[in-house]
């Protein structure tokens, strides 16, 4: 998708500027007739152009070809990838500030410095989205402490990664990492109708539910944080959008903020594990509980601690294969036409 910050909408009450959502309901606001480019093809200011030593060439750029935006993909755009490749879809879920976007940024930062689990970076259609997600935790941002910009858009957006085994030139592995605002999942846990709207989850291969470790260590907040997370899972199961074959990964984030000597907290974490195992273990073929410190604040953990473990089932063929029995798309009427695109099957898979 192109960067929506280059768009402006003159319709009164349109939340495009604040949440990125289109009042008219267009998944990609660029398609909305009310949205207009903020400036021309060049989004460089004249000041920047001047300091770069070039003459202003905006007129010359008027007929330049538009390229793919490089930012997060809409469902429709992600569907183009699932249609032509055996892409695996991973949805990251959790309450606001649980660390969903931080996890995505950390995956990319890890790849930016080395292979992950013997898989090499082979390309991305959302390289600018990854760079933007990492920006607030880099020196160049001017921030003094690493930060993450919160996901605000209520509709799923996807980050794309193409990976390849480093041992040989094997098949490419396409990952689509779904990111939805925490508020969307909160609404889903409050209201069955809202949960049913997340029908896209029927297509995901892994559902990653992130629990905010910062809340789990707080004696006043931890019970509610646990309950809120279980409510999300339960609501999605009840709504029939989360299916048995989906790999469920429950992630306790920010474990670097726990005091290792605090026995009560350790006991509570055991309780968390027990709750998920007993309540949901029988509902899914595979449910695992993991701990991460994606961007630890202490030297006790390395950067991206636990992230490779989360990715392992996404990358290992034996654990996580393209399925021949993905559920059918929801019936017409329950689905936007553009979203149906997501269910298009890879021709390769059809003939395999």
């Amino acid at each position: 998708m192109q960067d929506i910050k280059n768009l402006v909408c003159n319709q009164a009450g349109c939340p495009l500027d604040s949440t990125g959502e289109c009042l008219e309901g267009f998944d990609d606001p660029h398609r909305c007739p009310h949205a207009k480019p903020r400036i021309g093809p060049s989004n460089l200011s004249s000041e920047e152009v001047a300091t770069d030593g070039d003459e202003v060439v905006t007129e010359a750029m008027a007929d330049w070809l538009q390229l793919p935006g490089g930012y997060e993909l809409t469902i429709n755009e992600a569907g183009e990838i699932t249609a032509r490749t055996e892409a695996q879809v991973v949805m990251l879920a959790g309450e606001p500030d649980a660390g969903k976007t931080t996890l995505i940024a950390t995956i990319y930062e890890l790849l930016s410095s080395d292979v992950i689990d013997n898989f090499r970076f082979a390309g991305s259609e959302t390289i600018l989205a990854f760079e933007r997600a990492c920006f607030p935790s880099r020196i160049v941002s001017g921030n003094r402490k690493p930060d993450t910009v919160r996901t605000r858009h209520p509709r799923p957006r996807f980050y794309h990664l193409c990976l390849r085994p480093d041992t040989a030139i094997g098949p490419r592995k396409h990952l689509l990492l779904g990111d939805v605002s925490g508020e969307t999942f909160r609404r889903a846990s409050d209201d069955l109708a809202e949960a049913k709207k997340l029908h896209i989850l029927r297509r995901v291969d892994a559902f990653v539910l992130i629990l905010d470790g910062d809340k789990l260590r707080n004696r006043k907040e931890r019970q509610d944080a646990l309950e809120r997370a279980t409510l999300i899972l339960r609501s999605l199961v009840d709504a029939g959008v989360l299916l048995r074959h989906t790999v469920i990964q429950v992630i306790i984030s920010k474990i670097d903020c726990f005091d290792p000597d605090d026995k009560n907290t350790s006991k509570f974490l055991l309780h968390v594990r027990h709750e998920f195992a007993t309540k949901f273990g029988a509902l899914f073929d595979r449910l695992v509980i993991l701990e991460i410190a994606a961007r630890p604040d202490t030297e006790r953990f390395e950067f991206g601690h636990g992230v490779r473990e989360i990715m392992r089932p996404w990358l290992q063929e034996s654990d996580f294969q393209w399925k021949m029995d993905y559920p059918a798309a929801p019936p017409p009427g329950q689905l936007r036409e553009s979203d149906a695109f997501f269910w298009r099957r890879s021709l390769h898979a059809e003939t395999a």
Partner: protein, 326 residues
């Protein structure tokens, strides 16, 4: 008998100030002078040579070659042959502005000329400069580094040997800093902004920009197979790191390296360290004593060093020659 001819449209890419025009100037000098044995051979003069002659003169005189700006982009054509071969390659090389490539990344638009060239071209040159090859610097790492620097400073005050040098260099023999994080000796440090900045695509990591350029080119040629020569300009800056060019890319630009290796079956690549100028223009030193202008050139490929600046293009033309022979 008429020699067989094959037109080749070379796609030369690189962000601003990576030495594309300097490379072209030295390349033209080598062709016209024939000073280096076994280099590409100038098969015949093309009608228009004024631009190449002008930039080659500046190069020979140790004068600055003006940057190519967008309105002044041009395509030059040279007719070359592989040594000992009859076939003439009509090589069209764009003297493209790095500004244009910067705009491709930042504005997600490309010129119709670039679209046309990238669609047709199967021979690609990617230029990069060590000064710009700064790995993305995470804040958490910088905090660790500041702590290390403080320790080193305290050691230095206490009179501990070598601590200051180590702190400045931060690079081991294998090219990685302690802790496993790449710390380029030849690159400029990222300036810490005095205020909190809003996101702009221009703040992306250098390696991400280069990967994206290659992806754009691949998409435009419909992912057809191609060959790529990666040229690390100003290679003399990197020599103290004692790494071969490919290992240097692996250490400095790991994301780009992974991308190159992972796609090598559809885009065969080779990496060349090229010092076309030989030294800083203002401090040529003993290089002024060279008898032949080409003596200042240094090209490193794997463990081999030579004066043959045509090597990257030879690498590209060899596959084109094989295709023609089929």
């Amino acid at each position: 008998m008429q020699k067989p001819r094959k037109p080749i449209r070379l796609l030369a890419m690189g962000l601003p100030q990576v030495g594309k025009t300097t490379f072209l100037a030295a390349f033209w000098h080598l062709l016209t002078s024939g000073e280096v044995r076994d280099s590409l051979v100038l098969a015949e003069f093309q009608p228009s040579r004024d631009h190449l002659n002008t930039i080659a003169t500046l190069w020979r005189k140790w004068e600055e070659i003006p940057r190519t700006t967008l309105p002044k982009e041009r395509v030059v054509t040279v007719n070359v042959s592989l040594p000992g071969k009859d076939q003439v390659f009509e090589l069209s090389v764009p003297d493209a502005s790095g500004e244009g490539f910067k705009r491709i990344f930042e504005t997600r638009h490309c010129s119709r000329e670039f679209e046309d060239l990238a669609t047709d071209s199967r021979e690609l040159l990617l230029f990069l400069h060590p000064k710009q090859a700064v790995p993305p610097q995470r804040i958490d790492l910088e905090v660790d580094k500041l702590s290390d620097d403080l320790d080193n400073l305290l050691d230095m005050i206490a009179g501990a040997p070598n601590s200051a040098t180590d702190a400045t260099m931060g690079v081991g023999v294998d090219g990685t800093a302690s802790g496993g994080h790449a710390q380029p000796a030849a690159a400029e440090e990222t300036q810490i902004p005095s205020e909190i900045l809003k996101w702009n695509a221009k703040y992306s990591a250098y390696q991400a920009k280069l990967v994206d350029l290659l992806q754009v080119a691949s998409r435009l040629r419909c992912e057809q197979p191609a060959r790529l020569a990666v040229v690390i300009s100003a290679w003399d800056r990197c020599e103290r790191e004692k790494l071969q060019p490919e290992a240097w890319i692996k250490a400095r630009l790991p994301l780009l390296y992974q991308y190159l290796v992972a796609n090598a079956d559809v885009c065969d690549f080779a990496v060349f360290g090229v010092s076309a100028q030989g030294a800083e223009l203002k401090a040529p030193g003993a290089l002024l004593d060279n008898i032949r202008a080409s003596d200042r050139i240094k090209v490193t490929s794997g463990a081999t060093e030579s004066k043959d600046l045509t090597l990257p293009i030879k690498f590209l033309l060899e596959s084109a020659a094989k295709d023609s022979a089929k």
